[in-house]
Symmetry: C2
Subunit: 210 residues, 2 copies
């Protein structure tokens, strides 16, 4: 009943895109979709869609396509979007504040339940219904709220320390917005979102083109 194990990283990275596309199709009242159409909407190639979906153990209907609702359910299960994982955001600067107000968490299986910072001037302020707490209280917060995901939006200098603290209190995965490479134990999944890096990559291609 659980879907196939060991889905390739490249496939996992595309599943959220398929999911978003399928949500749109469902909202538009579509009940089935072919790999060709899904591929077009998701910006990939049709063979890739079929190979990716076959990894889920999903079976489409030959001659017809895939059932939208069924596919949504299966992808949702693989990604764990029904889990409602408690999230803490560490670092309430510009970006932390923007994320605290971001509305996209709940429909993706995450719920921001705590905000922390180490600047005493910020403690007690409220964002999106949550009060900023001191980073030193993380152990208690993590225990009380059973935090499973940490989002790091501190300056680069503080990020490794924060990552260590998150790991120490038992957080299960980390999303890092600080522009630095973090060392965490191999069993903790970590992903980074790095604006400066993305811009510089663009810089290369633009530079080349001219």
């Amino acid at each position: 009943m659980a879907p196939e194990r060991d889905i390739p990283d490249a496939t996992v990275a595309r599943l959220p895109v398929y999911r978003r596309t399928l949500v749109g199709l469902a909202a538009a009242g579509e009940t089935t979709v072919s790999s060709a159409r899904l591929a077009e909407l998701a910006g990939v190639n049709a063979a890739k869609v079929r190979k990716d979906l076959s990894r889920l153990g999903t079976y489409g209907v030959r001659g017809v396509g895939y059932e939208v609702e069924n596919l949504l359910m299966q992808i949702g299960e693989v990604l764990g979007v029904n889990v409602d994982a408690p999230v803490v955001i560490v670092g309430m600067g510009n970006l932390g504040q923007a994320l605290a107000r971001y509305g996209g968490f709940s429909t993706r299986g995450f719920r921001v339940v705590a905000l922390t910072d180490s600047d005493p001037k910020k403690i007690g302020k409220k964002f999106a219904g949550l009060t900023i707490q001191h980073q030193d209280d993380l152990p208690k917060i993590a225990k009380d709220l059973d935090i499973s995901v940490g989002i790091i939006t501190t300056p680069a200098e503080a990020a490794q320390q924060v990552a260590d603290e998150l790991v120490a209190v038992g957080v299960g995965s980390i999303l890092n917005f600080a522009p630095t490479v973090l060392n965490v134990p191999a069993h903790i999944p970590i992903r980074k979102v790095d604006l400066a890096t993305e811009l510089q990559i663009l810089g290369y291609y633009q530079h080349r083109a001219s």
Copy 2:
């Protein structure tokens, strides 16, 4: 004198990380660095560092390593960080505001010179010394300021339209924060930063681990 052409995508994506690491080493007064040390700091494998750097036409010194300043200069040139490309941010919601205040652009070859939105209530407000202008004025703004990069921070529904407008006014590359796949002409480099996708990918790995 220009570095080698045709650097693989995977290498390009790592250059900003090497650059950041080298900036740190330079600040710490280091003048040379071995591939092993650079690899450790950048979180990759030493052979990869050597192969990547060899693509730049850079030559390290056998038995010693690479000269930090020289390497920085070469990577900077490849990435075009001295270009100071004018950037417009389209969509001044939470994220757009956070990016407008973000300080990391200038040292990476980018300068935010304009902010736009389509909500009349936001026009005229100021962020980081810039006044929000109406998105309808984009053609004039782009012409006057010679905009070369567009950052899209609108809701998903508006993003394709905005992308079309950016392409129409001659923007050379696009960074998309909206959670949707954008269609742009093949010659326009585009990258996406997608928080919801990253979270869902984490969701998969965390889910799997338990």
